[in-house]
């Protein structure tokens, strides 16, 4: 694709990408660096971008990969990696009426946002992509480079984790404050 078109196609995604980056990094400066690097990489690779493929998913994927190789991203992964997530199984069942439901019903959106910010990165990013950026399962699978089945199971666990904000993360470790 001609770089002439990059600005027209990529700039409309700017606000959304920034929001995503800020939620991931939790910091304005880091988010700006991340977005800037994302656009630089995307512009550089724009010639290889295939017309007709999903530019939005492509941009989110660059941003997400950039984040995971960044200092902040690596630090977040070290404190909250979800190794063997499939092995965790569906231990948490959401089929019972939990006190958390009542709690959520009483709490405002600020609580949900706080819980989102406190989520481990792999859960936070999938919730953001699905609920905030409104990407389809197929797009999320492209961004995360995982099969759709993994998207569905990870999303399910992320939602469960989001509804238990006061509890520990799935590895049983307390969530590291630095990732918030």
């Amino acid at each position: 694709m001609d770089p002439e078109f990059f600005e027209q196609l990529a700039m409309p995604l700017f606000d959304q990408l920034y929001n995503f980056a800020h939620w991931l990094t939790g910091d304005r400066t880091d988010a700006e660096d991340l977005v800037q690097e994302t656009y630089a990489k995307a512009l550089k690779g724009f010639r290889s971008f295939q017309q007709g493929t999903n530019l939005r998913a492509w941009m989110y994927r660059i941003l997400r990969n950039t984040f995971h190789t960044s200092r902040t991203g690596l630090a977040a992964q070290n404190t909250s990696s979800l190794e063997e997530e499939e092995a965790q199984g569906n231990a948490v069942t959401a089929h019972t009426v939990t006190p958390e439901l009542l709690l959520l019903q009483q709490e405002d959106q600020q609580t949900v946002l706080k819980a989102l910010a406190a989520l481990p990165v792999p859960y936070r990013e999938i919730i953001l992509l699905c609920e905030v950026e409104e990407l389809s399962y197929r797009e999320i699978a492209q961004v995360l480079d995982v099969p759709i089945g993994t998207v569905m199971s990870r999303l399910s666990r992320a939602r469960t984790a989001l509804r238990q904000p006061q509890k520990t993360n799935p590895l049983g470790r307390p969530i590291d404050a630095r990732t918030l």
Binding site: H22, W23, T93, A94, H95, V112, L113, S153, R163
Partner: protein, 251 residues
């Protein structure tokens, strides 16, 4: 104890996310209507979805950052392209101006040479071509004193192929000058001498080799503040010889 439900929670979420295959939706509706557990789960997930809407656009970039990024992303070639686009036009314009200037200069020179030729022809056509008639340079030179505001030397032509016939006062571009008529066999040659004042520079090139203008041969040069022109219907080599003797006399 509620009856255990075998509904996969992932399918419930897919239904809420709008990712359930259309043919499965009626069955899902039916199930939710009969399974209180799943109905509650749906309500809880919906509530979560609503709560998360606040995260959309929660963080907004600063205007400065947006401008900075736009500059980074904007195709950098565009402004340069505009400049490049004008280069051929600018070159063409410059070439036209240069051509016009050169042509103007050239035509001014042509005009000046034409005027000199007119002076020469005028003198020859006149019934009184000379104001002072003498072959003696010591008679001709002093005659110009008081008639023209400068002095010059007449070379000794005795013994050469040239014969001094005399001289007269002429005007070119409002400047007085001396015209000497020199004979060479049946040909007549004019020597015109003007002051080369910087303010009223005559439109001649600093000097030329003898060259043809309107079938006349003309040579011009500047020496000691005087502009010399030699014009006649003889060969360039003969004009050149006369010019050399004048140059030597006035150097």
């Amino acid at each position: 104890m509620p009856v255990p439900c075998d509904q996969n929670p992932i399918t419930l979420a897919s239904y809420l996310d709008g990712e359930l295959a259309p043919d499965q939706i009626p069955a899902m509706h039916e199930h939710i209507a009969t399974c209180p557990q799943c109905a509650i789960e749906i309500a809880e997930l919906t509530r979560l979805k609503h709560g998360l809407r606040a995260a959309r656009g929660h963080h907004t970039p600063t205007l400065e950052f947006k401008k900075k990024l736009q500059q980074q992303v904007a195709p950098p070639r565009r402004p340069r392209l505009n400049v490049l686009r004008f280069i051929p036009a600018a070159l063409a314009l410059a070439a036209t101006l240069l051509l016009a200037f050169t042509w103007t200069q050239h035509s001014r020179r042509q005009d000046a040479f034409s005027e000199v030729a007119d002076l020469h022809v005028n003198a020859l056509a006149s019934t009184n071509p000379l104001d002072v008639i003498s072959t003696d340079r010591h008679t001709v030179k002093p005659w110009f004193q008081g008639r023209i505001p400068f002095s010059f030397n007449v070379p000794e032509l005795t013994g050469t192929e040239f014969t001094l016939l005399g001289g007269r006062v002429v005007y070119l571009h409002q400047q007085p000058g001396a015209q000497l008529i020199v004979a060479m066999r049946q040909h007549k040659i004019s020597v015109l001498i003007f002051q080369a004042s910087p303010g009223q520079a005559l439109p001649f090139p600093a000097s030329t080799e003898a060259g043809a203008h309107n079938a006349f041969t003309v040579e011009t040069w500047q020496s000691n503040g005087l502009r010399f022109l030699v014009i006649g219907d003889v060969d360039a080599t003969e004009i050149e010889r006369l010019a050399q003797s004048l140059k030597q006399a006035n150097s």
